[in-house]
Amino acid sequence: MRYVPLLWAGLFRKKTRTILTLLSVCVAFLLFGLLHAVKAAFESGADSADAKRLLTTARYAIIEPLPLSYLHRIEQVPGVVGVAHADWFGAKYQNESNAFPVLAVDPRRYLDMYPELRIAHGQRDAFITTRTGAVAGRRLVERFGWRLGQKLPISSEIYPRADGSMHWEFDLVGILDADDPTVRRNTDLVLINVAYFDEARQSNKGRTGWYIERIADPAQAQAIAVAIDALFTNSPDETKTQPEKEFAIGFAKQVGDIGALVLRILAAVFFTILLLTGNTMAQSIRERVPELAILKTIGFSDGKVTVLVLAEAVVLLLLGCGLGLLAATSLMPAMNSATGGRFPTLFVHGRTWLVAMSIAVVLALAIGLPPALRARRLKIIEALAGR
């Protein structure tokens, strides 16, 4: 602890230089925080996946509908403890296509399937009993300024009503929320009552988009998935059942390898930082050769001097990393409102901090080691003589 002032004095020997270095490290980690948040947003489906949920879609293309009559047959598969289903409504709101997802669901089954979606008891009951009822995620409600009890005029791009009109109206009876921020992005949707929807639509009656099954034992997931698909083999509507996580990963893969793209950008960023900071550190040590020699003269061991120089690099990088991530965190609200809620909420995860800190330490060692070793090898007499 008593070396802290010495460390500090060494770091801020040339204020401008250290501050500039600190700022560029800070920017690198700010970028790291932002890109990591984007990557996490694309891949978060897999994080919030429940190992006890399976997803059944049409075998050949996930957008093909499945018969609603499959419900009771899936329910009888051993190991399945609950079944829900959902259908893609194809919403168009205020003339914007796919402004948010609208799913036609059986309210009780769906809300039971996703206990992480929080809804007040009274509102849940209202959704179950109101045929034209709808519930919406809190972010959506705030974004559009909806109020409980109001009519939601939403058009469908896919389903005309029996009279041919594409305009639908629902009563907003509840608001969905979630405590966990990774789950909260799953609440950016509107749920409507399938009983009303299926009766009132003109086409595709008696069909739904996909099924969700809750199973008792995640270890049985594969066997149960096979058992479900076996029920419908050789029928006109064959199915493909997979664990929720696998489905989410597959979907993220569809988007493409965001992870690889982000990794390449960050590699370029950190390579540049490594170079800039490394150069500065090396120069700073070169200038301080006589000072280091004096430290050794008054009794600092080689090891202590080495550690002192290394510690400078570590402190610089960790400080820059912390400031950068703090800056990223404080930028998130602005970014989230700039995307108008069309993109999942971005936030800096705890894991991002861990990864960033480890990167900072590794970079610090890479940057600090050469000058530290140089300091270690210093011969007092030569150094003082300025040779």
Binding site: V27, Q254, G256
Partner: protein
């Protein structure tokens, strides 16, 4: 004149001595090269995507969807509606008098990317024979066109590049039907190159469909007046409940969300990297100045003015930045140009493939960013160098 001589002499000295500060100078060059390289690559991705969508469609072609639908996948048109479109007066005709209208259906088929196993939504388009005359930019570059009534497909060049098993002669199995790939086609790099095409009737029976998704037609008169007239005919006719879009307008809309997203990502990353690099450049230029402190003070002492010092330092910074920008642009060009990528377009829920396009305007933009970073990084150190009192600077000797 003397002043200009001073500038020339000092700039010469400055540049001549760069090799003595090679490390610092290289750091600036490489740092800026990194920034410009990333900037140009990310923008090349956005440019490639924009190009793919922007080059899709022509002014004289229209796409008809069910009223209220903005995307083919959400649309559905009954056979009777579709057959009424072709005879309409605004639709162009070929030499033999056949109307240039093609009713098409779109299904999604699952195909893994090359080297992967996860399925992707690849668009599979069933087209009527007129489709080839309507989209006369389509060229079969290997193999031949599919035959009607046979389970044969032709595959867009980009789909063939991205997804596994789409070579001429290969068999692909979808939903209890096997199809033979008989050709690869190009359409000038537009979205159709991400698609698989087959005969509409064959597709309908194989995929057990009974409705079409859209009709694409060429207008006899592609001008605004012609388009408005055609639109009026369709909207006034009580038999129809259709939306009419000009093709370019339709495809631009499909791309909007994704291209906004890519652009935002690109510019955010580039802006922050540039700020970081500016701090780095500042640092390097400060240390370049520091190492030349005595030299500059000596020059000042023997009569060189402050402005020539500023100019010479700025010239160094800008030259290094320019060099970095050029290296970065060249790297981006070498590594990215022409590389292809496919992603899920949320609006169409289907895969769209596109190429990175490193255009000359992007390269110029990269150089401009480099110059901005160079200016920002060089100006303060240059002024500091010129302002430092000669006596103070010489005392450090």
């Amino acid at each position: 004149m003397r002043w200009l001589n001073q500038i020339a002499a000092l700039t010469f000295i400055t540049l001549w001595t760069i090799p003595q500060r090679l490390g610092t100078s290289l750091v600036i060059v490489i740092g800026i090269a990194g920034v410009v390289g990333v900037l140009v690559s990310v923008l090349a991705m956005s440019e490639g995507f924009r190009h793919t969508l922007a080059s899709t469609g022509r002014q004289d072609r229209v796409i008809l969807l069910r009223a209220g639908s903005d995307a083919e996948l959400a649309s559905g048109l009954e056979r009777d509606q579709v057959t009424l479109v072709a005879p309409l007066s605004g639709v162009a005709r070929d030499l033999r008098g056949h109307p240039l209208a093609s009713a098409e259906l779109m299904v999604m088929v699952d195909l893994p990317r090359k080297g992967q196993t996860e399925p992707n939504n690849v668009p599979f388009r069933g087209v009527q024979p007129a489709a080839f005359a309507i989209r006369d930019e389509l060229k079969v570059v290997s193999g031949r066109r599919f035959e009607r009534g046979v389970r044969e497909v032709i595959v867009g060049r980009k789909a063939a590049e991205q997804f596994a098993g789409l070579n001429v002669g290969a068999t692909i199995g979808f939903r209890d039907s096997d199809w033979t790939v008989v050709g690869i086609f190009e359409t000038g790099g537009d979205v159709h190159e991400s698609e698989i095409w087959a005969d509409a009737e064959t597709t309908m029976s194989a995929f057990r469909r009974s409705i079409y998704q859209s009709v694409t037609a060429r207008l006899a008169d592609g001008s605004d007046a012609g388009f408005t007239a055609f639109k009026d005919v369709v909207s006034r006719d009580p038999r129809f409940s259709l939306s009419v879009f000009r093709e370019p307008e339709y495809y631009a809309k499909q791309a909007k969300v994704l291209s906004d997203l890519i652009n935002m990502l690109g510019y955010t990353v580039a802006a922050f990297m540039a700020i970081g690099a500016m701090f780095g450049a500042l640092n390097c230029m400060y240390s370049a100045i520091a190492s030349r402190q005595v030299e500059i003070a000596t020059l000042r002492a023997i009569g060189f003015g402050g402005t020539p010092v500023v100019v010479s330092v700025m010239t160094e910074a800008l030259l290094l930045a320019l060099l970095g920008g050029a290296v970065g642009g060249a790297l981006a060009y070498l590594y990215c140009d022409g590389a292809s990528l496919s992603t899920l377009n949320f609006n169409t829920f289907s895969q769209v493939a596109f190429d990175f396009r490193v255009t000359s305007s992007l390269l110029v933009q990269g150089l401009l960013w480099a110059l901005i970073i160079g200016t920002a990084g060089g100006l303060l150190p240059a002024i500091q160098a010129a302002r430092l009192p000669v006596t103070v600077a010489l005392r450090t000797l």
